[in-house]
Amino acid sequence: MLALGTLTHVKQMSHSPFEVTIALVVPIVQATLAVYLFRAGQEQHRLIEAAVGAGLMGVWSSVLFGSGGAIQNQRWQGTLEMIMLAPRRPVLVILPITVATGLTGTYSLLATLAWGRILYGIRLEFAHPFAFVVAAVVCIVALGMFGLLLASTFVLMRNANALANTLEYPIWLVSGMLVPITVLPAWTGPIAAVLPTTWGARALREATTGGPVWPAVGVCLGISVLCLVFGSISLTYVERRARAAATLALA
């Protein structure tokens, strides 16, 4: 059911010209920016890191706006009542949507890597190719679960869109997707440590450059399971409250 649901939502999102264009074009622009910045900083040997980082930024944007607005979007489409009427736990209905946002986000990662290879001649030589693939899959699933937590908490807020708009750059920054965490103020460390994006980015970077991949993958998975648990609890609470107050279809 999870697999079929995810596939359905991936197909639906992939038919949206807006989603696909934004997932492809904006990360490519950001990757180009990163490439020129790294070149200007005499860091040509890190161009592949720039391409991977920019791609991951695109994945996060996809999850943030897709998952953050997952329930709201169903509400606007008039399908929220129908999916909530399904004789399954709410988490099993919403999780495929949020994982699908992570999967469609991979368009960004693939686009930035292809762009870097074709236009800038970046050699896609990963220190641990197999670990890179595993880390990418774990990262996407983890972001999907993080997205579930976002979806279930954002629905409680009237101004969730504003929060989503606010969270894009802070997570890019604090998670070390392009800027190393070491150059940030020390107080950002604990925040970074609890974010699955930080560990997902680290796992991908280590797989690219040749560091220890699996500890980061493990922590990323652990945090994402916590997100799943908290997201599930929150979603159940939200659903019961909405049923009791008859506000499911209301903003």
Partner: protein
């Protein structure tokens, strides 16, 4: 069906034109924002741009491409794009989305003036965002700006915001022809990050990107603001400010032309409210 005979409206005097531009623009601006809470404004238009600036400032520090002043001042001017590009785009796009475009186009007044007036509050909004972002980021990252530079910086940010709002209006005009203005505006905002030379020094960009950037808003305003923040006088920044103003005027004319052409075309093909 031909319209019935109507009494032509009295000609607009300069004062009435100004009133139509400013009051009409403010009313349209309030229609977009007055039903939301301040948290949306603060989160989207103040906190988000601040983190955008911090992201590039820390990236610049790490790569040692340029100093803090380059990133803080340049990105502060750039933050106006969020309000100006999206605002300018939605000034036209939302009329269509909410089904009120026909009413606006039925107005006996000049639609060119009506729509150009829409850009003004967004320019003011962009200026406010740029000022707040510059102030907060300077305090956070320890950038000292000479007091004498403040009036010039305000002027740079104002000219940049206005040029950017007219750029947004030009994109909004495309919304009368193309279905999805969101794609256009999102891609445009991303391209401004790259092509205005705010984050990558122009010497490190390919020539064609630098050339394209010369015709985009913010490029010259950011350069003028950097010179002013670096202690150069207004005379040193004046040429760049003049170029930014020219870019703004160019986009205002282009927006007016496109609006006129697409309005005529939409009437001819009866596709005004087709989404």
């Amino acid at each position: 069906m031909k319209p019935g005979p109507t009494t032509p409206p009295p000609p607009l005097t300069g004062l009435k034109t100004l009133r139509l531009m400013t009051v009409g623009g403010v009313i349209a601006y309030r229609a977009l924002f007055n039903w939301t809470r301040p948290s949306i404004f603060i989160g989207t238009l103040l906190v988000g741009p601040l983190f955008q600036l911090l992201f590039f400032a820390y990236l610049g520090r790490q790569l040692q491409v340029a100093d803090d002043r380059f990133y803080i001042v340049g990105n502060a001017v750039l933050t106006a794009t969020l309000a100006c590009v999206f605002g300018g785009t939605l000034a036209v796009g939302n009329e269509r989305r909410y089904g009120t475009l026909g009413h606006v186009l039925l107005s006996p007044r000049s639609r060119t003036v009506v729509f150009l007036g829409r850009a003004l509050p967004y320019a003011g909004n962009g200026l406010f965002i740029a000022v707040v972002t510059l102030g907060v980021s300077s305090a956070l990252l320890g950038l000292r700006i000479p007091a004498a530079a403040v009036p010039g910086l305000l002027l740079s940010m104002a000219v940049g915001s206005l040029a950017c709002a007219f750029f947004g209006l030009t994109l909004g005009a495309l919304g009368l022809r193309f279905r999805d203005v969101w794609v256009i505006s999102n891609v445009a905002v991303a391209l401004l990050l790259l092509l205005t030379g705010v984050n990558v020094p122009s010497g490190s960009l390919p020539g064609w990107m630098v050339t394209v950037g010369q015709f985009l808003p913010i490029t010259h305003a950011a350069e003028a603001a950097r010179r002013l923040a670096g202690g150069s006088g207004l005379s040193a920044a004046a040429p760049e400010l003049g170029r930014e103003a020219l870019v703004g005027v160019g986009y205002a004319i282009l927006a007016a032309l496109l609006l006129k052409i697409f309005e005529t075309e939409s009437r001819r093909t009866a596709s005004l409210d087709t989404l």
